[in-house]
């Protein structure tokens, strides 16, 4: 376990190994997302209540899932960075934050678009949407804090602390927002929380969720590799790499 962590903690090792993993994840994610999209849009049955507009679920739910998972992974990476001082973990945490913010935005936007046919309005203070909005602010806070420090090292550590504080708070926020929502007599109808979804509806959804996760892993690997090059530009092995490329 220890040697495993330390191997992957070396930027050079990470750079070399991720080069092998990266194409695999790109391929799988492309395959899954294309399959899920075609399946979900063309073959899955229409909803008896919402008709075809429910198909936004195939973007909304994976994006919302992924956004929350990204925050958790970011906090985990931050923990690894703070405890073991592994810089690659910090680089990963750094590149995850904007991705998470974008995913949260996608979830919010698709939720708003979905709101038009279902609620007749672009925005409802629905529990899920409200939690997503708060998550977006948490992401923006982490990004802004990292950028605000003149010293990169201090920015990394500060953003790590904030990510960990945030991840402790996410369940509390989610729980309290749900409570708040039930107190205010919810609209009879929430997006996506439905008793039982028929198999032919949720299977493509599962495919999409998996596809989004693979996409996230592939993109994180790619962006972490870029970050490694940017930070280690003065190191021997990076210089050698550029020499070879030339």
């Amino acid at each position: 376990m220890w040697t495993f962590i330390h191997k992957w903690g070396s930027p050079k090792w990470f750079y070399v190994m991720s080069a092998k993993l990266q194409p695999l994840f790109w391929m799988v994610s492309l395959l899954l997302i294309v399959t899920g999209t075609v399946w979900g849009l063309a073959f899955a049955p229409a909803d008896y209540q919402q008709g075809d507009s429910f198909r936004i679920i195939y973007v909304h739910v994976p994006a919302a899932f992924l956004a929350q998972s990204i925050f958790v992974s970011m906090a985990l990476a931050s923990l690894v960075f703070v405890v073991w001082k592994i810089k690659v973990a910090d680089m990963a945490a750094k590149v995850m934050a904007p991705l998470g913010a974008v995913m949260t935005f996608v979830a919010l936007f698709s939720g708003a678009v979905w709101g038009v046919p279902t609620w007749g309005t672009w925005w409802m203070w629905d529990a899920r949407l409200t939690s997503m909005l708060i998550l977006l602010f948490l992401f923006l806070g982490v990004i802004a804090l990292r950028g605000a420090f003149a010293s990169r090292d201090s920015g990394s550590k500060a953003a790590s602390v904030l990510a960990m504080v945030g991840v402790i708070n996410i369940p509390i926020i989610k729980y309290s927002v749900d409570w708040w929502f039930t107190l205010h007599q919810p609209a009879t109808f929430t997006l996506t929380s439905r008793p039982a979804m028929p198999t032919e509806m949720w299977l493509p959804l599962l495919v999409m969720v998996l596809g989004f996760y693979c996409f996230f892993i592939a993109l994180t690997l790619m962006r972490t590799r870029n970050e490694i090059l940017r930070r280690e530009i003065n190191k021997r092995w990076v210089m050698d790499l550029f020499q070879e490329a030339r």
């Binding site: 001082k85 010293s151 990169r152 090292d153 930070r231 280690e232 003065n234």
Partner: protein, 206 residues
Amino acid sequence: MSLGLQARQLACERDGRWLFEGLDLDVRCGEIVRIEGPNGSGKTTLLKLLAGQLGDYHGELYWNGERFHKVREHFLANLLYLGHSPGVKAGLTPLENLAWYQALNGDKGDEEQCLNALFHVGLGGFEDVLAGQLSAGQQRRVALARLTLTRRALWVLDEPFTAIDRQGVVALEKQLAAHVQAGGSVLVTTHHALAVSPAVRCVQLG
């Protein structure tokens, strides 16, 4: 009892740039060690590091032969650090400032001692004036009063002569000399030429 602060192969990296590398340093009792180097060579960072303020460094630090992080509390109980800023609250009187520093050490505090220390640095009669109304040099002196007030073996002083007049400089030099003669040790950065009787060892950075 022997006292000593040792650094072995000490290196410090900030944002991908090495401030210093492979530094070996020994501070023994009865010794003044002066860190020299041009601006930006990492003097202040080194001092903060040796005062236990910074956690991320490469290499090893020892206090009395034991690893730093194991004896951190013991080390801090024997350290007096004066940084760039004097650490004197403008909204408190010199007396209140000193009383707080005493309490931080877990000391109940003794007003007589505080007054004595203030008198020693030439601030007799100023003990009840808000520190914000004192001049920059006088505020420095409030901080320097801690040298008399708190008995600590290791002094780490970052530019202690800043803003102090000539008499103050002479008095501080005498105090440094007396401290090392009594078996203490001093780690100092200064641009001022030290005129102290025991030899000052210099360590060059950058």
